[in-house]
Symmetry: D4
Subunit: 177 residues, 8 copies
């Protein structure tokens, strides 16, 4: 598995979250997930794992998810987006899916391809695009925080800052009457 | 909070999962989540918490989620489904949303009202209806299992049985040629 | 409640209409509501009240709506737009919802999240975007005018001017045959 | 205007709300609006006014709305639903539109035909079907209540009963484990 | 009726087709209908007739359609597009509707608001935008041509030229292999 | 062309309207067009002409439409509904398309396949299902009536009866208060 | 691979077409593909291969497709339908996808999940439901027939019978005038 | 048939694949199919064949497809896209349809007009736009390869290169923490 981007290794920690995507063109959306995990100091790795062009690598990635210690997989894909659902089929590690906007149908196809999973194999699905990528990561943080008090405090602080930022918003003055 | 259904208390355990829904009419869908948690022996509680008719109870439920030890909240609602997103706004406990099928638009409104959350406040969303309710619970099990080896073994066994059941499926014989 | 924009106070009048929105990024749409209320001289205030990032402020805003003398609340939000519906749950003051266009689904998610409210908690919903914001304000004017003869005369005059403006429209000449 | 159903006259009061619909087949939906107005004791009248089959009656109804003292018009229609929008064009009395479910498109056509009004002529739109009809009436009550303390008290009491009814909801027991 | 654009009068002929639209902003689409009628030498007039801002002018236009000798009305509108359907209600002259693209929903609202008319009051509906405007005019030409041999010959010749133009189309050379 | 249903011949008149449909299963919808033409005494014929299973018959039908004296063709089809558009390509006789409801997508596919014709080849499209079939026939009547005073009088009388029938509609009494 | 339904073996021929589906509940749709292949005497096999519950069996099925001599795979699935696309990723044997109608979204999710494949990995997609299953098989027959003259003659004869059956369709008599 | 682009003739081979499209404006999408066939050295021809403007040419093209030795037809069209389905009706040669994006509805109309064919006349449908055009050609290659070992080897090699290219994808470095 030499081709992975071992970003997580920078501080010597094994990744606990895998961020995978169907193509490098999905990066512009998925970087929003990266930004959140970095902000919370969660060790992670990023990989291109194409369900359709690299199906056996995908199988291998799924098979290794538990042994390698991953506790969550964030998977983004667009169009007939099969990566999140297939990863969920290949590992008991919980999968968090991000519908990447598609060229012609605005991500509606991506959303339905990810969220409408059959009973038995869940994918936790988030909003189309940037907001969904960030929120998938935030949801992973929230899950990890349920057994990590320090992380929970960070999360609570993050949300308080977010609330303060919203409270500080001022709408522009109206045009003179 | 006397009106809760303290089903979790049957075996003396405090609930770790709250299953809430906007109306008792959502039960037929949400029972699929209950069935999964029972199968895995996860202590849970069930409550009707209407975002629109009981907003202050909803706020209180959110405020108490961490102190009461909840580690996940499964929220089902239909139409302009605000319960999952509002609960996500009210507690750092991760929220898992279930779009309940609506009368006229088949749950498409429920799905969009739950999944399209803005950056910063995630709701993990699942399929419309029964499959989504079961899968929300299975995803909670998977999250809890990342720090609970016994539960992880149960989950792996569940999935193996599921695989065997699928493998055992036989399609009916064709009509005589 | 020091962070409100007390635009209404400019002429010493208490606001009778609250214009709230989920984010300062909604301003470009919601300013169309402001322009109408200014044209009719209705005292109003504008506030960012995020349902998801400031839920307790939202509860407080709802609780104070009647005591503060608000007679209408215009609420704009996009995506999984919960602000109008939650505000309607929190106060008997009538709520007028404006679906703000969303990035990927063109406001179809915003529209369904606002209009498909369950029986018992109404949100009067208007068109997606600028037209909806202006029309929410015009509808508020029409409601207020039912007990205010001067305002009714202003409204009738406004509509007459509007009719005259439409009547004065000339379509360009055709290209030479 | 002899063909109107002078239900309001039962107690000698002039109607303050007109409930109109495009066809008698819309009654099954629109009766939900009637039930609310009766519960609150608001004098009203009901009429079939077809935009497409009785356009001149519709014009006349609009012209008489102010002189006859109507303070709100609730209009329901399905498919290419033009009645609410046209009535809004014909009178400054505020119009509250109800999308009646259509046979093939489930009321999505009705909804868009009513809500997507151009800037300048508002229709306050509510959910498709029964919920929308009830909520249109409740919104009218809320508007009228802003200048009628007794009605406001009734509305607050109605909402409190509604909250209590939701709080009293119990989800059925789970199937034996 | 002084405000009409009496383009038809240029050659002394009374208009046999009325082209009406809800706003001067619809011109860019509706000019495609004009171009066809000019090409075929059909006397026509163009008017802005806003269903929502000029409802009584619309009624008058409908009432005069037969006396003034109109044999077809082409009506374009966008969003909650009521002009074609209302005109069809106001005159037995056949109405040809053009869905003008809307800002947020791409004309899907315009299309449904025009095509989904109830039994009894037809609007012949064409494609969204430029193609629909041209085709509405071509359909009018085809209807008129059924009792006008010279026009029928022109139409056949138009279609033959159209066929030849399509036959002459060459696709660009492929990039060098 | 022996397989046609020469219903028109009953009174010795040549058909002026052809009603064609893609399958005999479309009859239940298309009979609504038949009923209108019978009511107005317009000579017509009905035929199954499947674009996909009988393409050469379709071509022949188109080629003979003018020589046989047809002045309008009403074509109904469902799903990927190509019959109306292809017939419009094959004859200058105006084509009136009826989207027959489809099994899975409720006629939305039928509607788009018929209405979204390219510039140059128009199909006048009507509502999905029964209403559309009746209205296609009524529109044909209106077109024919522009050069037939007796028919115009019948049409005006039909519409007056329709208006009277709508005016006579009474909504049921409300449940006792 | 003992669990396969070796229907093809009945006449001793190795299957050239694999018909696979995500669940035995898809049989009611997929039997339409079986009926066509039987009619044309194409040796085939049927299997339940769940992408989500049996992913490794799916991988194995794909790996064996070429060695086992399959020349086409017909794959049916519903909801987030990943089986056709994943099979296309796992073998160069051409895959023909059938969207099985889903419970809540009528197969729209199934269709988009199958048809919107990224560049490089094609799935030939057919209509939702029964028609799509039959047509997938007919398309396979047509592909095989391009190198099998006897099969081509059978196909031509099938289509001629189909044309004759359509030509023989008579629409019911109209109700008495 | 002098107007065809006899690109295939460059190396003296008769075309085995016909690539047809409704207009020269479809070229920008359909060139993606050309590029694939060129890469695999499959003799092909390209033609504009408009179903609506050149219906008789279309019939002729279909009639000649078998005699001229075509083994596959790739047909692209947009909007009410009838070319693929009609070609499928006119020849037993298998047809592969490409939905070209439409101006207002993003190709959703094109997709439904192509994929929702009735039982008996199949069109193998691919994704909207560029990906669909390339994939239609790849699917044709895969079908041809089932009886051509050299082509099968080329296809396997193409897929291996594609897999390697995906494996080589690196996501950009994260912004500095």
């Amino acid at each position: 598995m030499s081709q992975e981007t071992a970003r997580a290794a920078q501080d010597g920690a094994s990744p606990v979250v895998g961020i995978i995507m169907g193509s490098s063109s999905d990066w512009d959306v998925m970087r929003n997930a990266v930004a959140i995990l970095e902000e919370f100091g969660i060790p992670f790795e990023t990989r291109v794992v194409s369900a359709h062009r690299m199906p056996l690598d995908m199988v291998e990635y799924g098979a290794q998810a538990v042994p390698r210690g991953l506790r969550a997989i964030i998977a983004g894909a667009g169009g007939a987006a099969h990566l999140p659902g297939m990863m969920a089929a290949l590992t008991p590690v919980p999968v968090f899916g991000v519908p990447v906007p598609s060229r012609h149908l605005h991500g509606e196809d991506s959303l339905l391809s990810i969220v409408q999973m059959p009973k038995g194999v869940p994918v936790a699905t988030f909003a189309i695009g940037d907001a969904g990528a960030a929120n998938a990561a935030l949801h992973v943080v929230a899950c990890l925080a349920t057994t990590d008090d320090a992380l929970q405090q960070k999360l609570v602080a993050f949300r308080e800052r977010q609330t303060e930022a919203a409270r500080a918003m001022r709408v522009p003055p109206a045009p003179a009457a």
